[in-house]
């Protein structure tokens, strides 16, 4: 089976100026998270879409889905966790309890605040996760990357050609992801906030899927303003 986990668990501490998490703010005339879910709804290869939100937003998200997408038995909203890994584990537990974990199933994990993800990116994720067991969506780094340990002086300037900016989706074989997350010590679990990093630390290959510059993450108020502007611009 193919599962999509829409990670809407963030409380938007960086968004500022509002108490509503950024994934529930409007982009055009719909909340950001609805735009994101729609991208997965139209992909018939995906059997189940699991939306993970803070506990106090579960009902709100269900209402939004009913209002904008309509009742859809392929979408389920469950509570996320404290950390990104906890949220991921909640989605895997849901899969385990309801469908069981087999060797072939894959999970596409995606930030709810990346509504501009394209159909092509999702298709490429499905293909790469099936083929290789793990993949990450990236774009080549355009700015020079500078490393500083002390936040005052430059330690090194790596060769930019080898560096990419990580986006989402990140997609995995469910059983592999389940086993790797379970193998983490509490200390590792605290520092490993990126699922792909868990794979690389355990010497598992993670393949690259080409992202898009438009696949931006709405993190700051500026991002939402920018996203709304480019959406309006599209109608001209």
């Amino acid at each position: 089976m193919i599962f999509a986990a829409i990670l809407a668990g963030g409380i938007g501490s960086r968004m500022g100026g509002t108490d509503t998490p950024k994934q529930f703010l409007d982009l055009g005339n719909k909340p950001v998270v609805i735009h994101t879910i729609e991208k997965f709804v139209i992909n018939s290869k995906i059997d189940k879409i699991i939306v993970l939100t803070p506990q106090n937003f579960v009902n709100h998200t269900v209402h939004l889905i009913n209002e904008f997408i309509g009742e859809n038995e392929d979408i389920v909203v469950i509570e996320g966790g404290e950390t990104r890994n906890d949220t991921l584990m909640n989605s895997i537990s849901y899969i385990d309890e309801n469908f069981g974990i087999d060797d072939d199933s894959i999970i596409i994990t995606h930030d709810s605040v990346r509504p501009f993800v394209t159909h092509r990116i999702i298709e490429d994720n499905i293909d790469a996760a099936r083929r290789y067991g793990a993949c990450d969506t990236v774009i080549p780094a355009t700015d020079t990357i500078v490393e500083s340990i002390n936040a005052k002086t430059i330690e090194s300037i790596p060769v930019r050609d080898y560096y990419y900016q990580g986006q989402t989706p990140q997609s995995f074989n469910v059983r592999k992801l389940f086993n790797l997350i379970n193998s983490l010590t509490p200390e590792e679990s605290n520092i490993l906030t990126d699922a792909c990093k868990i794979f690389t630390l355990k010497d598992e290959d993670v393949y690259l899927v080409e992202g898009e510059v438009t696949n931006i993450k709405i993190t700051y108020p500026y991002d939402l303003k920018l996203a709304n502007t480019i959406l309006e611009d599209g109608y001209d």
Binding site: E38, K39, V41, V213, G234
Partner: protein
């Protein structure tokens, strides 16, 4: 739903933009696209400045096939291979939809097919057999224009159709001559062109002449002009010279300039001049059925493919247009991976 559209912002400059589509029809993922000269005229900026100002930014390309991603009415299955019809009627009219001012045409004032997804009504796609050649199918729209003209010709031609002449040794001339040969197997199809290297590919035609080297005894019953641009003038002049009385002159070639026509001889011979542009659903269905019944046509049509470009970025798209511009003959096919 949010959709990413790749538009020509100004000549030779593409940009990503965001659009929204409603999920109340069919959503198709484009797979193979084909560049038409009309797209090239926008890309090169050779349309008049006021037209460019009015129509850009706009996604180009109106020849494409794709795979169904979603259908709100479930008439199509996900993964169905379909050809997309760029003409979208916006209300009933007394004329065919491809001539109606009410219709919208993709890639001409209305976004074409260079986007992540395309939303269409279900009557704007025609299902294709899985074994059809994708690259040839990418330019079914162009074939449907020829098919539409040939169908209309059949309705108006009142004199014998023994000798049919096709002027033009480019893509449309090739397709028109090929389909005339298929749809009128008892007629003699003669091709008149300028470039010997192109004419050599018209092996299916009964006769081939270079326009400056036509024997005195040649005449034709009906003519198809597939030349376009300022060269249309000399082609139409030669047609009027060689055509028999009450023949039909079927015009296909687009010109940015007004073309003078020898109306005195049009009157004297009682000719019927019929213009042809674009096509509609019935023509697409006609082409698909003709190809199903005559799969050997694919072999001929494949000869038209001169470039196949993998499009993974807007830079690839730009390079494909530049490559197409340098090609004197044939179609540039885009494998759409963006």
């Amino acid at each position: 739903m949010i959709n990413i559209v790749y538009r020509l912002k100004s000549p030779k400059f593409f940009e990503e933009s965001i659009d929204e589509i409603e999920l109340d029809g069919v959503v198709v993922r484009p797979t193979y696209l084909s560049i038409c000269q009309a797209d090239q005229r926008y890309y090169q900026g050779s349309r008049p400045a006021e037209i460019l100002d009015k129509k850009l930014p706009m996604a180009l390309i109106h020849e494409a096939i794709g795979e169904v991603v979603f259908d709100s009415k479930c008439n199509f299955k996900s993964g169905d291979k379909v050809v997309m019809i760029p003409n979208t009627p916006m209300g009933d009219d007394v004329c065919r939809a491809n001539y109606s001012y009410k219709s919208k045409f993709r890639g001409s004032g209305f976004d074409g097919f260079t986007s992540d997804l395309i939303k269409l009504e279900d009557d704007r796609i025609v299902k294709l057999p899985d074994d059809f050649n994708d690259k040839v199918c990418a330019f079914i729209e162009l074939i449907s224009v020829a098919y539409q003209g040939i169908t209309k010709f059949g309705e108006i031609a009142i004199t014998p159709k023994d000798k049919i002449g096709v002027w033009g040794d480019g893509n449309l001339g090739f397709i028109t001559a090929l389909f005339l040969k298929e749809l009128y197997p008892d007629s003699t199809v003669t091709v008149f062109g300028k470039h010997q290297e192109n004419l050599n590919l018209f092996s299916f035609a009964d006769e081939i002449y270079r326009i400056h080297d036509v024997p005195d005894n040649v005449d034709i019953d009906h003519a198809f002009e597939c030349v376009g641009s300022s060269a249309s003038q000399s082609a139409i002049e030669q047609i009027i010279d060689l055509i028999n009385p009450q023949g039909t002159v079927n015009l296909f070639g687009v010109s940015e300039y007004p073309i003078p026509i020898n109306t005195r001889m049009v009157l004297e011979k009682g000719l019927t001049i019929q213009g042809n542009s674009r096509s509609d659903r019935e023509d697409f269905i006609g082409v698909v059925e003709t190809l199903k019944e005559n799969p050997q046509l694919f072999e001929y049509l494949e000869k038209l493919i001169t470039n196949t470009c993998e499009i993974n970025s807007l830079n690839d798209l730009k390079e494909a247009f530049d490559k197409d511009y340098l090609s004197k003959f044939g179609k540039t096919i885009l494998k759409w991976n963006i």
